[in-house]
């Protein structure tokens, strides 16, 4: 997944007219860089914000697991824990 970032940066130069997506700013808190790095390759981060703050801890765990198991997100176990903890603390109930 780390390889994505140079790819995006290169295309941003090559295809300026295609970039309509505005940045989605997540809460600055420990773990935010893991969320941005692992999640934004496949979907914009507004998916997280719109699904908040109602999820309890179990629901955020289930969502992270679904992204890995059902959708094949290549996220390490260590990063998955950091991501789930960040979501629970900042976008949970």
């Amino acid at each position: 997944m780390r390889a994505i970032f140079p790819v995006i940066a290169a295309l941003a130069v090559a295809l300026p007219a295609a970039a309509e997506e505005k940045p989605v700013e997540l809460k600055k808190a420990p773990g935010v860089e893991k969320v941005e790095g692992n999640c934004s390759g496949c979907h914009s981060l507004d998916y997280i914000v719109m699904n908040s703050p109602f999820p309890n801890a179990a629901l955020w765990d289930a969502e992270v697991t679904k992204m890995i198991k059902a959708f094949g997100a290549p996220i390490s176990d260590a990063d998955a824990k950091v991501i789930a903890d960040y979501l629970k603390r900042n976008y949970g109930s």
């Binding site: 997944m1 390889a3 994505i4 970032f5 790819v7 995006i8 940066a9 295309l11 941003a12 295809l15 300026p16 295609a18 970039a19 309509e20 997506e21 505005k22 940045p23 989605v24 700013e25 997540l26 941005e36 999640c39 934004s40 390759g41 496949c42 979907h43 914009s44 981060l45 507004d46 998916y47 997280i48 914000v49 719109m50 699904n51 908040s52 703050p53 109602f54 999820p55 629901l59 969502e63 059902a70 959708f71 094949g72 997100a73 290549p74 976008y91």
Partner: protein
């Protein structure tokens, strides 16, 4: 692996975190929606579209503001946009081909767009409604795209009948489902591609089309150019966009987007159309649209005057049995009067209604509308909760401020 095509309209995504979103404050979104959605949704215009309510940039999920539902036909440039996966190529009409085959077919056929357009054409006015429309109004909330009222639209779709296409390959009698794939797909090759099947009985109905026109125009890119499946009466999950492959199957399709995705609990909804090859002991694929209606005028929170007539208008729709009646209440549901219906564009289309009342006292006044269809189904007053947030057809209410 992440493939290159997926970044075509998403460059810079989620990277430069410099600016906050704009526009959310200008939107009057229902208070029942998740707080996070109300903070992040904004009006935003995709290429070729009017500003719609942006729920997510990538994949693009944009809903139609209520004001555009004051007519039975929804304009193309205001029609909602929904994608599951972010790999959305611009299809070249010159090289696009549609293959028809599968183990449930006797042969194989491949046709070009010109050939598709030369086939006998059919047209149907039909509602395309996201299974999860109004999911954001579920209480308690359920995860997913947190749609309000506008993940739907009604258009006139023109195309070839699917059954005529299937005839080119020849259906075996063992063919139980027809499977569709489109040119769009996932960003990661580990993510299940979005493919969907429908039962053969639904596929061969006269109104099931492979459409290449929407409201008299070539199908716009974001609505499935150059051709998409139209399944009148059934929810939008089956209406495959950018369709490239049609396969007749002798066994039920078992991939992710058929199961566990898009499932409703058995027995909770009063549905007629069944998808028996996909049913389990506990659930079934979502199929037909439940009877429903929306008040499009006045909007929630509008100010009106004592003694001045108020016209209550909106639309009603169902899974293709046809709207029987729409009743309107101006006293919070105590008494109801039947509202005259507008032009009938066919049993799969939005049906407008309109009725008038005159406020007599200052204060808050709750106006409601409820539809029934021609097989006796009506909207529910209590939400039928289900884990995926489908089939929300609770009677719509708006609160007016009378002064």
């Amino acid at each position: 692996m992440l493939t290159r095509r997926h970044f075509v309209r998403t460059a810079g995504a989620g990277l430069a975190l410099g600016g906050a979103g704009i526009g959310a404050a200008a939107l009057e979104l229902p208070r029942a929606l998740p707080e996070g959605l109300r903070n992040s949704a904004m009006l935003d215009a995709l290429p070729g579209k009017k500003p719609l309510i942006k729920l997510s940039y990538r994949p693009p999920n944009y809903e139609t503001p209520i004001e555009y539902f004051r007519t039975a036909i929804t304009p193309n440039d205001a029609f909602f946009v929904r994608y599951h996966l972010a790999g959305i190529p611009e299809v070249d009409a010159k090289t696009w081909k549609l293959s028809v085959g599968g183990d449930g077919a006797n042969g194989q056929a491949e046709i070009t767009l010109d050939e598709l357009k030369r086939m006998p054409a059919a047209e149907v006015a039909a509602v395309n409604l996201c299974s999860g429309n109004r999911r954001g109004l579920f209480e308690p909330h359920v995860p997913g795209v947190e749609w309000g009222y506008g993940a739907m639209g009604c258009a006139r779709w023109k195309g070839a009948r699917l059954k005529d296409l299937l005839d080119k390959a020849g259906l075996k009698k063992e063919a139980i489902e027809i499977l569709f794939d489109g040119a769009d797909g996932p960003v990661s090759d580990k993510t299940p591609d979005f493919i969907k099947s429908i039962p053969t009985w639904k596929a061969i109905e006269d109104t099931t089309l492979i459409a290449y026109e929407m409201n008299g125009e070539p199908l716009p890119h974001l609505h499935g150019f150059p051709a998409r499946l139209i399944v009148p009466g059934w929810t939008g999950t089956y209406w495959m966009k950018h369709v490239t492959s049609i396969k007749a199957l002798t066994k039920p399709e078992s991939s992710f987007w058929m199961n566990p995705a898009y499932r409703i609990p058995l027995g909770k909804f009063p549905l007629v159309a069944r998808f028996t090859s996909q049913e389990t002991a506990v659930n079934t694929p979502i199929t037909e649209i439940v009877v429903n209606s929306l008040i499009t005028n006045p909007l929630d929170g509008a100010g009106v005057k004592v003694g001045a007539p108020v016209t209550v208008g909106g639309i009603a729709w169902d899974g293709g049995y046809g709207i029987n009646a729409v009743e309107v209440s101006s006293d919070g549901g105590k008494t109801w009067t039947t509202a005259p219906l507008g032009q009938d564009l066919g049993r799969f289309a939005f049906r407008t209604y309109s009725s008038t009342f005159t406020p007599t006292a200052r204060g808050k006044q709750v106006v409601m509308a409820r539809a029934s269809n021609k097989i006796g189904q009506t909207q529910t007053t209590e939400l039928i909760h289900n884990p995926a947030g489908y089939h929300h057809n609770v009677v719509h209410a708006v609160t007016l401020n009378v002064s």
